[in-house]
């Protein structure tokens, strides 16, 4: 069993890392089973670092500690009519967890993913050195964008302790146009090439739901455009499944990507329990057996996509390639070698055994 250490500051994190142990950083632990299993000496619990350090509504930015729950940040910025345009795909998750796993939901079509919203980051390296990149302004091309490298790195390069994000205004109105269909692919193509400017186009099995947000007059007109194209009913609340993964604990949960034109084939191959951001070519599926992963991977690859086993029981992870083939793996290994030559940060959790 790892020793749980609860730092209160970036300085504390640095001190822990200088101790030379193998370390897995964690927040609320909601995604701790993602990736390959790791047994570190130290579980670095960042939950005590949960402050919203600064919110500047006029500049549409927020500066937070990595252990802050996403929901708590939303509450703070929401008071000013703003939001951090990231989805809480797993209830209770922290900012650090969203960044480390690059978790995304329906909002990505309109606002991008964590990489697009992160404008500054503070990290502690494996050797205990504290470094930052980016800053507090949205537009900034000074130096390498280390934030992007950290997003989705599963705690294998450095420990993220603070983050600065750009914010979006909360929409005045949101409407969901939802329809049952046996051909989601055709409806997706109709909607994304229209002038409705959908904020999200999500699929759940044979259900397609399109989110339109903005000002009341504009939303009404755009909803009308969508209904002309695909029919369906309009609601001012999201479908119950909106923005949640389709799997239950203990099941094999997959993330499947493809070029948008390949969506039809990918959905057909993924089976009935499939859900996600069809409009951008990212869906989540439940596999019944480990062998299904391989078959689906072949279909996705034909459309330029990939399949990653997001979550699964450990015994399944022993028999299936969790990350799948990864181009440029050698270069990734060299990056890891530079940041963490002793392989002390989440060793083995990431692609190619990184």
């Amino acid at each position: 069993m790892p020793t749980v250490v609860t730092p209160a500051s970036t300085g504390d994190v640095a001190e822990v890392l200088r101790g030379g142990h193998t370390v897995v950083p964690t927040g609320r632990g909601t995604k701790l089973t993602w990736g390959m299993p790791v047994e570190p000496e130290v579980l670095l619990d960042l939950c005590a670092m949960d402050r919203v350090i600064d919110h500047q509504p006029g500049d549409l930015i927020v500066h937070v500690e990595a252990g802050a729950p996403l929901a708590a940040v939303q509450e703070v910025v929401g008071r000013a009519g703003q939001r951090l345009a990231l989805d809480e795909t797993v209830a209770g998750g922290t900012i650090g967890g969203v960044l480390a796993t690059n978790a995304s939901g329906p909002t990505r079509m309109h606002a991008g993913t964590a990489r697009d919203l992160l404008i500054g980051v503070t990290v502690v390296r494996a050797d205990g050195v504290v470094a930052k990149a980016g800053g507090r302004v949205v537009k900034n091309v000074a130096g390498y964008d280390l934030g992007k490298l950290m997003v989705g790195s599963f705690g294998t390069l450095a420990v993220i302790t603070e983050a600065v994000f750009r914010l979006h205004p909360l929409p005045d109105v949101q409407r969901w146009v939802t329809v049952e269909t046996d051909d989601p692919h055709a409806l997706v193509q109709r909607v994304i090439h229209s002038q409705a400017v959908p904020w999200a186009v999500e699929v759940d099995g044979s259900t397609l739901s399109v989110l339109i947000g903005g000002r009341p007059d504009g939303v009404a007109a755009r909803v009308a455009v969508v209904r002309d194209l695909i029919g369906g009913s309009v609601s001012d609340v999201a479908p119950a499944w909106w923005g949640r993964y389709p799997w239950k604990p203990g099941e094999i949960g997959l993330k499947v990507t493809c070029a948008i034109s390949g969506l039809g084939e990918v959905l057909a191959a993924a089976g009935p329990r499939v859900r996600g951001s069809a409009g951008v070519g990212v869906v989540y599926a439940v596999a019944d057996r480990a062998e299904d992963v391989h078959r689906l991977r072949e279909v996705a690859a034909r459309h330029g996509g990939t399949v990653v086993v997001v979550d699964a029981p450990d015994e399944v992870k022993q028999v299936v390639d969790v990350w799948g083939p990864v181009p440029a793996l050698d270069l990734m290994r060299r990056v890891k070698e530079q940041f963490d030559p002793e392989r002390r940060l989440s060793p083995g959790r990431f692609v190619g055994g990184i």
């Binding site: 000074a142 964008d145 002038q195």
Partner: protein, 486 residues
């Protein structure tokens, strides 16, 4: 035979005809990019005709540890494509094919030498365009945009190059051809593409770029709004943002910039304006109409004395003419000028403009302000006359002081022009040693020998440590003349 000579020999085998230049007079053509006061004649220029030739040249450079610098159209404003005196300049201008446009996937695949605007032209028949629009978009290349993470007036709403480049075939400085990202989002593994975009040619050269295409908006409305002062215009900008409106662009020009543009292109901006805003709204017609009403009212409430609106392309071009000509226009009112590029939090605008005015007052050097007001990206134009003794130095000092103001307000020393050779010395004012050292870990992973665009971005190169089995004798940085003491 020197390293460069060996690379030249290999390049002549790879690239037939006129693509290899070693004649001193012809090399001079390439001695600078858009930042013309830095000049270095390269030892060799190679203009490959396809990706394979390009990769072969880089491989030869890697083998002989010869520095190389990539150049697209050479429009960069920070000296990012300034050649290396003992190195090879790899010019991508012949790699100019739009490989495919895939509207059903909202993607296009292009070669690095393709001109930015040509991507939009190729996508237009399908109702799509490429969103990042640096002001040089008629001549700048996608490869250069990728290297610099180029912005543009419309990145307020649509984001920068890094949001729109989703894949690249890329030659590393060790000569390996790797694929980063691709047609589908979220490739597993590290986001190396995210690190490469904006790395200013220090991590390698893209040979193919996959970009996201954006639906052409149903409606575009452009407003030209006159205010008595930059403070009033700034207050209007804040009010628009606070109302939850994200226009496609909000540009501001101050009195001196307006006067210069007026003299140069007779743009006929509102008489007596101390500042103008150019505000562009785009999207679904109903959305634009609603936003327009709100913007018009907010400008009026914040002291706008004149508002004009353009709804067709010709009228729009007229409004943009003044803004787009601003840099060149100051050349008419001043013999010499420096284009500065810095970023501040938008709310600091009044304070920073007042401070710039005070600096201008005390130094006697005029400053015309043109900027992307929506995202706080300032482009102060520092006007001087090189023939007046001391003015060049004073302008240089003032220009640097503006960057200090940006840093003091939590901003950045560059929003879109890049660090290049010009601002490497300012990097330590924005980042401490640990920050810069950490960035260079990435450099060491990609380019342990330090041969890709050396001397750019970072004020001091980091030693990457021994790479097993590769180094013999002197350190490669020493070999290549980049560093002398270790």
């Amino acid at each position: 035979m020197s390293g460069v000579e060996q690379v030249a020999r290999r390049a002549r085998e790879l690239v037939r005809g006129e693509g290899v230049i070693s004649d001193r007079a012809r090399l001079r053509t390439y001695e600078c990019d858009g930042l013309a006061h830095y000049r270095v004649v390269p030892a060799l220029v190679v203009i490959p005709q396809d990706a394979e030739q390009l990769a072969g040249v880089v491989r030869a450079c890697a083998e002989h540890r010869v520095p190389f610098v990539a150049r697209g159209s050479g429009t960069g404003l920070s000296g990012g494509a300034l050649p290396h005196a003992e190195g090879v300049l790899v010019v991508t201008s012949k790699l100019r094919e739009v490989v495919e446009v895939r509207p059903e996937d909202q993607r296009a695949v292009v070669e690095p030498g393709v001109i930015n605007l040509d991507v939009s032209r190729a996508a237009a028949p399908y109702g799509y365009y490429y969103a990042p629009d640096p002001s040089s978009q008629q001549i700048c290349s996608i490869g250069g945009n990728l290297a610099e993470n180029s912005g543009g007036a419309h990145c307020l709403k649509y984001g920068f190059t890094s949001h729109h480049v989703i894949g690249a075939d890329f030659v590393t400085p060790q000569g390996d051809l790797v694929r980063l990202g691709g047609m589908a989002p979220d490739s597993p593994g590290y986001d190396l593409l995210g690190a490469v975009v904006g790395s200013e040619g220090t991590l390698g050269i893209a040979t193919s770029v996959t970009v996201r295409l954006v639906r052409l908006p149903e409606e575009v409305r452009t407003l030209l709004v006159g205010f008595a002062s930059t403070d009033a215009a700034g207050a209007a900008v804040s009010a628009i943002i606070a109302a939850g409106i994200v226009p496609a662009a909000i540009e501001m020009m101050d009195e001196l910039a307006i006067a210069a543009a007026e003299e140069a292109v007779q743009c006929n901006y509102p008489d007596g304006a101390g500042a103008v805003l150019v505000i562009e709204l785009d999207g679904p017609a109903a959305e634009v109409a609603a936003e327009y009403d709100a913007v018009e009212r907010l400008c009026r409430e914040n002291g706008a004395f004149e508002q004009r609106v353009a709804t067709d392309a010709a009228d729009r071009a007229l409004i943009w003419k003044g803004r787009k000509s601003a840099f060149a226009a100051v050349g008419r009112v001043s013999p010499d000028y420096i284009v500065q590029d810095g970023v501040i939090p938008r709310t600091a605008l009044p304070e920073v403009l007042a401070a710039i005015a005070a600096l201008s007052e005390s130094s006697g050097i005029r400053v015309a302000n043109v900027f992307h007001a929506g995202d706080g990206n300032l482009h102060p134009l520092v006007l001087f006359d090189e023939s007046v003794p001391g003015q060049g130095a004073a302008a240089e000092e003032l220009s640097g002081a503006i960057l200090d103001l940006c840093i003091a307000h939590g901003g950045s020393i560059t929003g879109e022009h890049g660090v290049g050779v010009d601002k490497a010395k300012h990097m330590p004012r924005m980042y401490d040693d640990a920050d810069l050292d950490t960035m260079q870990l990435v450099r060491c992973a990609f380019d342990p020998d330090g041969i890709a665009n050396p001397g750019k971005v970072f004020p001091t190169p980091r030693l990457c440590g021994e790479v097993p089995g590769k180094h013999k004798g002197a350190h490669p940085l020493q070999d290549s003349g980049l560093a002398e003491i270790f």
